[in-house]
Symmetry: C2
């Protein structure tokens, strides 16, 4: 399989696949002409990576997940710990965004939104004076 096939089948852009090779997540073979020659296992890994990334795991977390996946003597506790740590990161981000959202929504609801210059959003950003 050439890179375009793998890109189509994995749903990842060719650029991303080359990047993943560069940082050592995959090691596709090479054909005589220098083209990357992807095997089924490479495709499977890329699909795995795509799904892990879509759940918000960082590249380094994906690297660990991939290692666990390939380690048949893994303990599921290690995978679960990784996932739970990521879950806590997600929760922290959601909490931060919700706090922003709350403040901003309050300001927006106070703003007339007409052609006059008075604006509680700017007044708040300008701070207490």
């Amino acid at each position: 399989m050439n890179i375009a096939d793998v890109a189509r089948r994995s749903g990842l852009p060719a650029k991303t696949i080359r990047y993943y090779e560069e940082i050592g997540l995959i090691r596709p073979a090479r054909s005589a002409n220098g083209y990357r020659a992807f095997a089924g296992a490479d495709l499977h890994k890329l699909a795995f990576l795509g799904r892990a990334r879509s759940l918000g795991f960082s590249i380094e977390e994906c690297r660990k997940l991939l290692a666990l996946w390939e380690d048949r003597s893994r303990a599921s506790a290690d995978v679960k710990a990784l996932a739970e740590a990521h879950l806590r990161e997600i929760d922290a981000k959601i909490a931060e965004l919700r706090a922003m959202r709350g403040t901003l929504a309050g300001l927006v609801s106070c703003c007339a939104g007409d052609d006059r210059p008075e604006c509680p959003i700017l007044t708040d950003l300008a701070g207490p004076d």
Copy 2:
């Protein structure tokens, strides 16, 4: 005021303040010795920027907010539109994170988390086979 004073009073790191000057958000005067000489207006702008950034506005959005703040003939509708657009971005991010969280929490709850290798998290990431 030197940069350390402004950093302390605005809550922004000196590095950030220099960066904001570099990209044209502020234009502090210079003393004879080459040091930045911040006026009250500069400090006020930096505090404004710090608050806008803490609400998640991008640098370019902050630039627009700053321009609106300094434009006494602004229409509050313009500010409100900017804030509402940002609110929609925040909502989109929250929705994306909540979707991730939902999927991941489901997988985590199915994982035994013991020393056996069987792990539904990895099985799911590996895809339908």
